[in-house]
């Protein structure tokens, strides 16, 4: 694996960890939303961050040469 692919791989790993943390946050927001309805906004923002992370993961998979042409 060349240095470029390794760099993108590291970013992908970091974003995957970030996504996992956000998913845990989404679960927490949903579980506490009955007492604290405002937590749903936090959950919404975390879903947004997960989607953004996924979009960059897709981009980096491509730029790192892991997928696509």
């Amino acid at each position: 694996m060349d240095a470029r692919a390794a760099a993108y791989g590291a970013w992908i790993a970091a974003l995957s960890v970030l996504s996992l943390v956000c998913v845990l946050g989404i679960v927490w927001a949903e579980m506490t939303s009955v007492q604290h309805p405002e937590h749903r906004l936090v959950g919404g923002a975390l879903i947004g961050i997960v989607l953004l992370a996924y979009s960059f993961i897709l981009l980096f998979l491509r730029k790192g040469g892991f997928t696509g042409v």
Binding site: L41, G44, G48, L51, L52, Y54, S55, F56, L59, R62
Partner: protein, 385 residues
Amino acid sequence: MYKRVLARLLRWTLRLDVVINRVYPEDFNPLYYTGGLSNLFLTVLILSGIFLLFYYIPSFNEAYTSVEFVTAQVPYGQIIRGIHRYSSDAFMIAILLHLFRNWFTERFRFSRDEPWISGMMLLLFAGFLGVTGYVLVWDQRAELLVAMTGNALASVPGIGGWLRTMLYGAPGTTNLLLPRMLYLHVGPAVVLYIFLWWHYVRIRHPKVWPPAVWTLFSLGLILIFCSLLPAVSQSQASPVATPTRLAVDWFFLLPYVVLTYLSPLWLILLGVVIVAYGLYIPYQLPETETAMGLRDSGVAEVVDANCTGCELCYYDCPYNAIVMVPSPHPGVTKAAQARKLLAIVLESRCVECGICIGACPFEALELPRLLETDIQERVLAACRS
């Protein structure tokens, strides 16, 4: 002058493409998918709008409270309202980017005038939908919008009062207003899809959806916006006092800001001129066919004997000018004898570009006034000179 400005804008647009293509792979360049992004946001708007419609009550007494109920009481109602709100802005941004890009790159020429005209209609309807959406909330901004729109329409000489009555259902603000606005918000949303069909009908390979990278990015950004900056109403509209200060959404309510500087009649005239000019753009450049590099090669013709029904021309024609029909009889050449389909050129759609000639490996298409022998003669003449 106009041509010089357009040429400069074209250069800037292409430079921007080059810069973005350095960051993103070429098939991920978001500027290539502004139409697809518009479609994405429209879909999000329709879905979130259907959700909101279940709770909305179009009456003066209950419209505001029903919107507040969705926002405060329905689980995730605040977020879905925000999605509806911010998707509408994103929809307008994507449409405007699409418009300017196609304008600067002159993608309105020849048979692309129909996508251009239908795109202008989509933009107009989208703007109208945005304003009716703000009225439905029936807060102080909605009340002000109704008053300003009514005054602007009433200023039209002769038919102003009639126009206002047609829009609001009565000369004043009555209970007919919000049901009418609800219909005018939902009805034109359906009409948008008719215009979209017209927008695509002449395009063979429209990019109707953005790549997954940009779908995820756009949805993620909208969710973050509607969570960090939740969509909220102003105070409830009150019949006692009409508010004087307008909270502006720059993508939909810009004309109302202009009303600060122009009289309503002048604003309407300005709007009519802008729309008329927009519709005229495809026909503006008064160049001769020679200056535009047009050939007079005639509508493409299918050579019945050679056509194998392989559909290559059908897939390659960017103008949807070729259709495949069941072959009434076999072809003459060996390859064409077993054909099941036959290519037919739709004369009204053909722009005589010759792409189908290049697509056909069986010499089954030709431009009647630009035959292969003509091209060979020209090439030879060019080589000799």
